[in-house]
């Protein structure tokens, strides 16, 4: 475990050199939040109105949190990196190191994500406070609970994207698969809470990985309860274990197919 923490630390140190460049990338985050602010202000004619169980402020905080999770993940870049590792044979040079490639990728990506998460969270909270003037009801317990859920969500999401990238062992380009995944997250997990969807598909979304990686921590942030927290953490732990198993399985099968040409 110590070596993986060192991988995490090295990636964090490495990215600290580019803190300014990373921050510039968050301009799009500000624009997005501004758009959603206007959209929900238009939908909620009266700010005290409740639609599908959410006030306007809760809706905007919900989007702020789901967007923090998505923006800090930088999934497209990570998916491309895993793909390139497989395609260029770079993965081979990780094989001969005394660590597992899946865990190496996970901790290395968490190193980048942690820095991005801190930066975009500060930005999100400042923006939310400026636009809305207040936070949802928060306690020390709820903040810790939301943070745990955010960490688990990021780990699960990283593992899913790793699996999608590792499909490169079998097909030439995995970016279309990633594209579908990212759009599902956007539609079903980022913009609207599950209560906005037809009753019939709500349980499907709730027990899908999309809920575990995106909606769940945001829902906890806007409406924390101990029962929801425990339920969320159980779902996330199950998904974490399942995703870890699947990613290792794809890697183990795929690496046997590895052809490293040239040089």
């Amino acid at each position: 475990m110590k070596k993986y923490l060192y991988i995490f630390k090295s990636e964090l140190m490495s990215n600290l050199q580019y803190i300014f460049d990373i921050s510039i990338g968050f301009i799009s985050y500000c624009i997005l939040i501004y758009i959603f602010l206007n959209l929900w202000q238009y939908v909620y004619s009266d700010p005290s109105e409740i639609i599908n169980g959410y006030t306007m402020k809760q809706m905007i905080w919900y989007v702020i949190i789901t967007e923090i999770l998505w923006m800090s993940l930088s999934g497209r870049k990570y998916n491309r990196k895993i793909c390139n590792d497989v395609k260029t044979g770079n993965i081979a040079y990780n094989i001969i190191k005394p660590y597992n490639y899946v865990e190496y990728s996970l901790f290395s990506h968490l190193g980048i994500t942690t820095l991005r998460f801190i930066l975009v969270t500060i930005l999100g909270i400042v923006l939310g406070f400026i636009f809305l003037g207040s936070f949802p009801e928060l306690t020390v317990l709820s903040i810790i609970g939301v943070l745990i859920s955010c960490v688990l969500a990021t780990i699960i999401n990283t593992l899913i994207i790793t699996s999608l990238g590792l499909i490169s062992f079998y097909i030439e380009d995995t970016s279309p698969i990633y594209w579908v995944y990212s759009k599902l997250i956007l539609v079903l997990g980022t913009i609207f809470p599950i209560e906005y969807f037809p009753k019939i598909i709500q349980p499907i979304i709730k027990y899908s990985p999309i809920y575990a990686v995106s909606s769940a921590p945001a829902k906890l942030f806007v409406d924390f309860s101990l029962i929801t927290f425990i339920e969320t953490i159980i779902i996330q732990i199950v998904y974490f274990l399942a995703c870890l198993g699947i990613t290792h399985f794809i890697y183990k099968k795929g690496v046997k197919k590895l052809n490293v040409n040239g040089g």
């Binding site: 090295s10 990215n15 001969i96 005394p98 660590y99 046997k256 490293v260």
Partner: protein, 332 residues
């Protein structure tokens, strides 16, 4: 075959590897056809090779492009799985004990970076120490030792991205030595370097081999690397070992030929003399290739007439030429 004995750290027996490569007929029609009915070519990259390497040896494992040397090295390091045959590296099977083996071997691939470019060499070395589970105090001592051996003082705290290629390769080698590997695989470590830096790298590899008794398996297209570092050479061509011999044998006996450059007072006619091949004949300067199986050097000098010689230089055939001849022979 050299190196067989109780000291062997690498033993390869009847190793083979086959690749399935997709083939496509030309044009759009060919592309469509390959979707519906893909065709594959079977490429035998490595065919039944056997050899062993003793502790502390520096061996050259060379061959023309596509000869199968990199595939063999990748099987020895555990990157690729062999189709047939066995590999024993320090008592371990690379395809089964890859992780355990990783602690005992080091690899430097001249064309691939293993260092974190945004970190300094020092941070990189600490990173490698951590992933090989080496206690911090030992890593510090090791870095200090290697810093001196590889003369890294000037740039140990400069981010890798700002280093020259030569400096980076030195750091790559050091990073591979942090965990004190017993075997070091160097795949084209001097590629793209200028002659002065190449020389430096060779000196450092030699020094490291002497100091730590590390076994080195070197692949390089630069014959000087091989000539200056290796005592033994294994040449692979078309997936087979075509030569496994000491460098001395290769140099002096393989072709049994010497080159004589001579400046004469008067012209001498050596046409049609058995065992002598005239390479150049311009004014009073002659360049001869003497086949030692047919003529001795003294016979050749007698034919030139010793009183007729102003200046003479006798040399071996350049190693590069010998090796390209072996490559060509292998192609026949």
């Amino acid at each position: 075959m050299k190196g067989v004995g109780s000291m062997a750290v690498i033993t390869v027996k009847k190793l083979s590897k086959v690749f399935k490569v997709k083939v496509k007929e030309k044009g759009l029609k060919g592309s469509l056809k390959s979707i519906i009915k893909p065709k594959y070519n079977i490429i035998k990259a490595v065919k039944n090779i056997s050899f062993s390497v003793d502790k502390g040896e520096i061996i050259a494992f060379i061959g023309p492009n596509g000869a199968g040397k990199s595939t063999s090295i990748k099987m020895m390091t555990g990157i690729l799985f062999p189709d047939n045959g066995t590999i024993d590296i320090l008592g371990l099977d690379p395809s089964k004990d890859r992780k355990r083996l990783a602690y005992s071997i080091g690899c430097v691939f001249g064309q691939k970076e293993q260092l974190w470019t945004h970190l300094t060499p020092y941070d990189n070395f600490k990173f490698f120490g951590a992933i090989y589970d080496i206690p911090e105090s030992i890593v510090e001592k090791k870095i200090e030792e290697l810093r001196e051996l590889f003369e890294l003082e000037e740039f140990i705290n400069t981010p890798v991205r700002n280093l020259s290629l030569g400096q980076r390769i030195r750091c790559e080698i050091v990073a591979s030595l942090i965990h004190e590997p017993k075997i070091l695989f160097l795949d084209e470590p001097t590629i793209g370097l200028d002659p002065v830096v190449k020389e430096k790298i060779r000196t450092l590899i030699k020094r490291m081999n002497k100091e730590y008794k590390t076994t080195v398996v070197l692949t390089s297209h630069d014959i000087s690397d091989i000539e200056k570092l290796c005592k033994r050479v294994i040449i692979v061509n078309k997936g087979q070992i075509v030569l496994d011999d000491t460098m001395d044998n290769l140099k002096y006996h393989y072709l049994n030929k010497k080159i004589i450059d001579v400046k004469m007072k008067e012209k001498v006619n050596l046409d049609d003399v058995e065992g002598i091949n005239i390479l150049k004949d311009k004014d009073y300067n002659l360049k001869l290739e003497v086949d030692l199986k047919k003529k001795t050097i003294s016979d050749a000098i007698n034919l030139l007439n010793i009183d007729n010689i102003i200046d003479i230089n006798i040399s071996n055939i350049p190693l590069e030429e010998i090796i390209s001849q072996i490559y060509k022979d292998g192609d026949k």
